[in-house]
Symmetry: C2
Subunit: 352 residues, 2 copies
Amino acid sequence: LRGRARGITSTDIARKAGVSQATVSRVLNGYEHVSDELRGRVLDVIERDGYAPNAIARGLVTRRTQLVGVIVADIVNPFYPELVEALAANLADRGLKMLFQNAGRGEEEEYVRVLLEHRVEGIIFTSALQSSSAVRRLVEQRLPVVLTNREVAGAACDTVVSDNVGGARAAASHLLELGHKRIALVRGYGGASTSDERERAFTERLGESGLVLPSEYRREGRFEHERAYGEVLRLLSLENPPTAIFCVNDLMAFAALNAARAAGLGVPRDLSVVGFDSIGMAGWESLSLTSVRQPIADIARSAVDLLNRRINDPERPIERRVFPSELMVRGTTSAPSRRPGSPESLGGAGGR
Amino acid sequence: LRGRARGITSTDIARKAGVSQATVSRVLNGYEHVSDELRGRVLDVIERDGYAPNAIARGLVTRRTQLVGVIVADIVNPFYPELVEALAANLADRGLKMLFQNAGRGEEEEYVRVLLEHRVEGIIFTSALQSSSAVRRLVEQRLPVVLTNREVAGAACDTVVSDNVGGARAAASHLLELGHKRIALVRGYGGASTSDERERAFTERLGESGLVLPSEYRREGRFEHERAYGEVLRLLSLENPPTAIFCVNDLMAFAALNAARAAGLGVPRDLSVVGFDSIGMAGWESLSLTSVRQPIADIARSAVDLLNRRINDPERPIERRVFPSELMVRGTTSAPSRRPGSPESLGGAGGR
């Protein structure tokens, strides 16, 4: 049986179907000049025969592979598994299968090439960078593409995001209303629309209340736990440490909680922390993170819906869907405490 | 360009390569009777031409798709993203690509069928059940299969696991040495070798110290946070609640921490908790979970190595590799406190 597992020759198919090799070739190559009866016999053999490469054969015949590429930046960031699970369920509902690529430290061109080699019918990007030339090129070449989570300015393709501006403004308003004046921000990396938009909106909202975010309060955590952890430790060891930190994703906010604990600080007593995403873990009693919720289920359903429409109707107008985000106030935010190092006594980190 | 994105006919290829359609058919069907020069011209067109289905064409020619199926039980359980990331990196190092299936609530037969349709060269199961008929059938049919994490008794295939028995015994010894006598266990679901082995070894080690695990102290958390959370709340509301809980994976142990907090209990003061896996999050200061470490990087490297060897040499002897596990003592375990509800005063949950 081993030979079959690796491929079936048209000789095998011809013998089993009782047709000529020329007929098998015509069927496999998608020619029209084959009777339905002969075509049926060939496809039956291919379908029934153990590991016959039926999806591939079917792909050659119907021009459909039913594969959809999904690219995520970092599957270990727990935001992405939630999105991937929701995408997989929605794709399965439509008979589509996910060819999954974890971008990690790899090159965009390389993982896009892999997806194309396997003839995906479309690609859902969950973490494209603004600089992505692959997205622009694929759109130009009219491969169905949907961007979720992160946008690429100027790419004429369907996009599903949540309201980053409203969410980040709500986070800022919440900290301002609690009375915080020394507020720091931990961003992702440059070129990620999520990080860029959240940072801009957050900073702008602070500015409307007369607060300027000093450069030493603006740190790059690269969306990673370890990197954010180190940056928060550095923030906390400043002469004037912040009393509140907004992190542009939950994973970095968890890192802030961990770093605060490592520095001997209580949250929210000594430090308030706000995240973005409000993934399942944010609601855990042990973490109880105040965070801006993205409606992941809605985003995934909408992304698959748009991709499916685009596959079936390449000429339809481009859509951009924006889902509302919502601040979930939990246990990591409170008013700043009045003690050495608090805004009322600038200049000393005392007690720390 | 759209047509190309969906498939290229042999007519197109023949025209561009300047060869006859019969030659293209011979190349696509893997016949030997084509000169290297003509074959090269055909493959060049297929390779170069936009979205040409080169992986598929190449698969038909070389009988290799370079695809490896990876099946995980639940990508939202943070153990699996760590394993998937490590598997993806090791596969990429060998030029192999991952066709990822999140089993979720789906049928095993269905997701295996999808992988086979796309002619994977092998499958890495990370969460096969003992009852898996698919694994046994694939092995019989000589598709290269590697089981990681969970084993299937009697399946003659390469397997990579960590030492579940040693790890669970170490967890039991630790709790016994701390002086716990009312120890509960939260298991996964039946038929998962990890859960079965850890439960058996843990129970056996308790038995060696004269401790019997009563049935009301044995709960099924199905490896899920929500389910385990409910079961731990029920354990904590027993007339004689346990002073320590061993959960057979970290996700359920985190649920135990959360449930304890919801019940107003301090960990480890009122309740000790031990997990299994020791994923990255277990080391977070906010969780600081005592847990049995599985060496995920070693397991992933070994699984890909074995699959690769099996693909290249189907006749090699079956290997089973067992990596040592190690108890990591962190902040969620201590001696039981002496207060109402502790072993010295059976009968009252007092103070709770």
